[in-house]
Amino acid sequence: MKIHLANGHLIDPKHGVDAKQDVFIAAGKVVAIGRAPDGFAANRTIDTAGLTIMPGVVDLAARLREPGFEYKATLESEMLAAVAGGVTTLACPPDTDPPLDEPGLVEMLKHRAKSLNLAHVYPLGALTVGLAGERITEMAELTEAGCVAFSHADHPLTDNQVLLRALQYAATFDFSVWLRPQDAYLSKGGVAHDGEVATRLGLAGIPRCAETIAVSTILELARASGVRLHLARISSADGLKLVSAAKRDGLRVTCDVAVHHAHLSEIDIGYFDSNCNLVPPLRSPRDRDALRAGLEDGSVDAMCSDHTPVDDDGKLTPFGEAEPGATGLELLLPLTLKWATEAKLPLVAALGRITHRPAAILGIDAGHLGVGHPADICVFDPRMHWKVNPSNLRSQGKNTPFTGYELPGKVRFTLVEGRVVFEG
């Protein structure tokens, strides 16, 4: 199948391209940019006049809920949501049931995802068996089965001896470890940022130091072990400051923020909106502004959806009893565009946070449109605004704090390895 994307505006952050350029695709790869290669006869020419062509979105955190939580979402529903959101590559955390701690489970997930033939799925392996924080997993075997990194998802790992050894073991093979920094004791029972809003609403708080202490501890253990470290879902200004300082010291560390933390704050909880029950909690507007500044200056490497489909039973409850998380695969690109507009950042810079930068964290060849590389592509209409209506989302999870938002950017085509997998 040869495809010609004609008359569109190409933005490829990795290669600094921001210009009207045609894209030529054959055998799943980009074969030319600008002018057709000699003898290229397209099977399909897609007129992308007025549309923006970009590398497919790379999402560092999307829960697909399989295996174990199929009542919340299935691979089918969430993979369709991914491509409808322009996401062509996603990493999924190991907090399934059972957790991804055995090669067989990972192979099965990879196989199921591959047979759907939609987005690429990169599982993160569990760092400890059962995510119980006691014994380390067979990381080499899991890597062979398809894991690209190891993580503890949102499960607590309180024993620093276990954590140090897990990091040392991973470092032996140069495996990357992704951790979400939150002290389990300081966050015990908490459901919201320990600040003005939680005080007013009478919600149990999670203080900022729950994050900064965990970041400090993890950074020290990373220093001691030499592991490649990724810190997931930074939520506070002070947490980010620690990561930036470690980067300046030459530590091999990257970090991301979730898209809701870049747009919302504790204030958005309003009158107990359980869709704002998120992990980590939404913090103060000052924290949010620091995360946005970090995205802008690059101290935050990537923005992810932290996609977490939750069914109504999990959200139609009082705030403190709600299951945390928000659906996000279909909102990651529009919310990135919104942020770029608000920050007055050119798209060629902003879109790097959801394309080649996360791809580099994953250590994969994705997130750019170099000639000879995979044709994973998103084409969107930058002028079209749409209103978020949960019932129109393809994800089985309808839980979003962005209901009613007018967002820019409607995905029109998504291509994975040169195949059109979504048309909207």
């Binding site: 939680a198 107990f272 009082p318 403190g320 009893e321």
Partner: protein, 315 residues
Amino acid sequence: MNNPQLNANGELTHLLSIEGLPRDILLQILDAAKSFAGVTDREVKKLPLLRGKSVFNLFFEPSTRTRTTFEIAAKRLSADVINLNVAVSSQSKGETLLDTIDNLAAMHADLFIVRHGQSGAPYMIARHLAPHMHVINAGDGRHAHPTQGLLDMYTIRHYKHDFTQLTVAIVGDVLHSKVARSLIHALTTLGAPEVRVIGPRTLLPTGVEKMGVRVFHDMEQGLRGVDVIVMLRLQNERMRGALLPSAQEFFKTYGLTAEKLALAKPDAIVMHPGPMNRGVEIDSAVADGPHSVILPQVTFGIAVRMAVMSIVAGN
């Protein structure tokens, strides 16, 4: 964001929290309560204002005093009252909160009095109900206990007549107190010039000063010259979470004794939302002494709850 307590005409349709309610509505409730207070003293203690209406007392956690005073208040307004101890019925059988509500709504409930252990639960119920049904929050988690806040205001007004010259001290476990939060909002809305909170750092919530209060950690300093002292209940489980070392030490540092009371104005009143822990937050000599208005608070609570029910169901 629309205030979920008010209808399109700005009238009270649910009472969920004192926060966000205009001064006029608070005064309307206090004035109505005053007119109902007389009913309680009459031989026939009934008014027909809620005749034919069904009031569901929906208590997801037990609270005998609050439930009883709501029941009495509803009966004095001639309503049919149904008491549901949900904590031991449907919820324990796995029914969701909203399923419970739907079933009761199908029984043609007019007014729900909701007590729930989770902050914000009555908001969710109010959002879910059809517009002709009403919710009164009878205490949600640590968040709000608006009728308690109002009966505290009624009590203060009864003894002190005017809010605008008063210094009020709220003492003890503010962190876990729905009573304190409601009272703080009521006092600041009705113009009390100085509201103090007194307690150890472990029992005062982060940023409480942003609610418009002065923070004291030394009880003797905090009580100096105050007109009203509100003691909060200290629950035993606070000792388990490393918030306090012992009830004895708490009593020594933050318990109200006659000596500490002497630092307040000579005509100061002492209040407590109940149930009291004698010898933990308050000495018996004070609880039963001449400054105590703790039992009148309970009596006023009936008139205040009659006022709230009649206003909410009338709108």
